[in-house]
């Protein structure tokens, strides 16, 4: 393990600590479910491990059959981004559906009053 810490590692670590604190805060607020908390906390802690010890990514890379540690990070990041875009699209669809339900309820209620 390389114990010399580079400035970029410090910057990234500060960002990751901030990200983890946001996740904990959102869980306390109740706007994140336990599953989502574990998911996000897992992502940021793993990223933290990779920042502290870049050799960690090479270890994972070798384990899963990719040659370079940086490639693992890029592949996983892309995969994660696609997945998150997909989840956001589904979430938006669900939100649209909820808005429609609300609009419908109000319209039917008003219609009934007129009747």
């Amino acid at each position: 393990m390389n114990l010399t810490i580079l400035p970029i590692q410090i910057i990234l670590l500060i960002f990751l600590v901030f990200a983890v604190s946001r996740v904990v805060l959102r869980l306390k607020e109740g706007s994140l479910t336990l599953g989502a908390f574990l998911f996000w906390a897992g992502i940021w802690v793993t990223a933290g491990l990779a920042v502290i010890d870049p050799g960690f990514t090479s270890y994972i890379a070798l384990k899963i059959g990719i040659q370079r540690g940086t490639d693992v990070v890029i592949y996983l990041s892309l995969f994660l981004l696609f997945y998150l875009i997909f989840r956001t699209t589904i979430l938006m669809e669900n939100l649209r559906e909820e808005i429609t339900k609300l609009t419908r309820e109000i319209a039917l209620l008003k219609g009934r009053e007129k009747k």
Partner: protein, 229 residues
């Protein structure tokens, strides 16, 4: 049969220029059906013109969405209203003037004779403009792939439903993909489907208001997305 209720749902979005004539024709044709209680329901999907006011003058039920939710949203509201009113039959009819009110009896007949739970009014594909023909065929194939039902005109807005269909169908989609969603319900609840030929009045207005060519891909994407929800 005498006291059974028939609800005609017209989803309408900014149809002030045509809805007067559409309602006039519809009311005239409904007078010929004497053995049912009939109610016309205009679901104004957040129009910013005088669609609601004009419909009100005709003495029909007007349900107004505060904001525009799309065809599926409006049809879903009509369906909910039919359930609440304990309607035995429901007909959906486009408010843009493309349907001929004279076809209402032919649409209802399979329901009245207990031959169908759902009736779709199919437009003559040969009389459609070329781009519409392509979309209609594409939609039929997509619907067949997704739901295993082949219908000549899945995007037709002229449909009839009996009590079983009214109570079992649920609409979740909000926009044009609703036309395909009906087939999901038909398949899921094993409803009997009958197709009936209908006339279509193509005007520049109805062509502009109807299914846009670019919607075909959007509908396909939304249907795929629905599989993952």
């Amino acid at each position: 049969m005498k006291n059974e209720k028939l609800i005609i749902v017209l989803p309408a979005f900014n149809e002030a220029s045509v809805i007067d004539r559409v309602l006039e024709n519809l009311k005239r044709e409904l007078l010929l059906i004497s053995n049912l209680q009939k109610e016309i329901v205009v679901v104004d999907d957040g129009s910013i013109d005088k669609t609601s006011q004009i419909a009100h003058k005709h003495g029909v039920m007007v349900i107004k969405h505060l904001i525009n939710r799309g065809l599926g949203g409006a049809l879903g509201t009509g369906l909910e209203y039919a359930k609440m009113s304990k309607a035995a039959m429901m007909v959906t009819f486009d408010a843009d003037g493309q349907h001929d009110a004279k076809d209402i009896l032919s649409i209802l007949n399979p329901i009245l004779n207990n031959r169908a739970d759902v009736v779709i009014g199919v437009r003559n594909i040969k009389k459609m403009p070329f781009d519409r023909r392509v979309i209609t065929l594409f939609s039929s194939i997509v619907t067949f792939v997704f739901f295993g039902i082949f219908c000549q005109d899945t995007q037709s807005g002229f449909r009839a439903f009996n009590l079983k269909a009214i109570n079992s169908l649920k609409i979740k989609t909000q926009r044009m993909e609703v036309s395909s969603e009906f087939f999901y319900g038909i398949k899921k609840h094993k409803l009997r489907l009958v197709e009936v030929p209908i006339r279509v009045i193509y005007t520049p207005y109805s062509l502009k208001k109807g299914q846009q060519n670019s919607n075909a891909v959007k509908i396909l994407l939304k249907l795929i997305l629905r599989l993952f929800r």
